[in-house]
Amino acid sequence: MSDPTRPSGGEGPFVQSPVTRTAARTLTPFVLAYGVYLSLFGTSLPGGAFQGGIVVGAAFVLVGLAFGFGPMRRWIHPGAFAACFLLGIGTFGAVGMGGFFLGGAVLDVLVYPVDVEWIVKLVEVAIAVVIGVIVTGLAIWLSAGVGDGGERE
């Protein structure tokens, strides 16, 4: 941490408060678990991939608020976000094309020989990854302010 007293210089808003840190440290595992739960069990309960992805993203935002967005930007490689997005959208696209090659239409998940609920759960996890990446990436790079010609911090 560069300046322990006040946020400035693209570090984004965060508070050096033990209350916030303890709360974030305690809550984050539960929030993450809840997000995964929402994504996986959205097929039979209220929830779904969009809700689960946003909750997972909110967990990362909570960590960033408590421990600083600046350290988080240095900790997470920017390429990881693009990779996660490609992984999620690629899984969704592969499932969709698989329906085509199994004799259905593109994105037709009813032609798979397994229970359709498992295919939907796979797609849901892919959607949740994409949504989580969008929320987390927006928060931690918006807090950096206007950039300086693309140089990495």
Binding site: V106, L110, V116, I127, L142, S143
Partner: protein, 188 residues
């Protein structure tokens, strides 16, 4: 129960007016989070837990953080401290225009069928001429073809997968363009 709902609606309306009129942007942001939480509870009472989850997570959580980030990064923190009054003057012409707009919305709301009414067109399986309504089509197809119970997820993934796929691409493109505009498009 009706008093709980009325109290919540009053709270949400008061919060909305406070957000619109406050000069203190940080205070308005915090009020916005409270507004979203109140709205989320309203959604729960209206039996829409999916929407309530999104409202609580996006409106109260992520959106407040993004607004706070914007306030801090644009140095709006100090504005309003030297002002005598804490609220903006009300823009009466705007209020008049919005009131005129509110008339058709309110009239439409009052002419809707009662909440949860079994005779509502939205929950009939067939139209009067015998064709399947979207409700009849999707609920039956969800239960028979998909074999799981959350119809919203079934529509999003099973029946309207292309829309969802495009949605994700558009959302990521929007986030990426924001970062490009801010000159934060770091490709290592």
């Amino acid at each position: 129960m009706i008093w709980l709902e009325l109290g919540l609606v009053a709270f949400v309306l008061a919060a909305a007016v406070l957000i619109a009129l406050s000069r203190d942007v940080v205070g308005a942001t915090v009020t916005f989070a409270a507004f979203s939480l109140g709205l989320a509870v309203v959604w729960v009472l209206l039996a829409a837990p999916d929407v309530a989850l999104v409202e609580a997570a996006v409106g109260a959580g992520v959106m407040s953080v993004l607004l706070l980030v914007a306030v801090i990064e644009t140095d709006c923190l100090s504005s309003g401290d030297d002002e005598e009054q804490r609220f903006r003057p009300i823009n009466w012409p705007l209020v008049a225009v919005l009131s005129v707009l509110a008339v058709p919305f309110g009239w439409t709301t009052l002419s809707l069928p009662a909440f949860g009414s079994p005779d509502a067109p939205a929950v009939q399986a067939t139209y009067p001429d015998g064709g399947l309504t979207p409700y009849g089509y999707y609920i039956e197809a969800t239960l028979v073809d998909a074999g799981f119970s959350n119809a919203v997820v079934a529509v999003l993934v099973v029946f309207r997968g292309l829309d969802t796929f495009g949605e994700l691409v558009v959302a990521f493109a929007a986030a990426a363009s924001v970062l490009v505009v801010l000159d934060r498009a770091v490709i290592p």
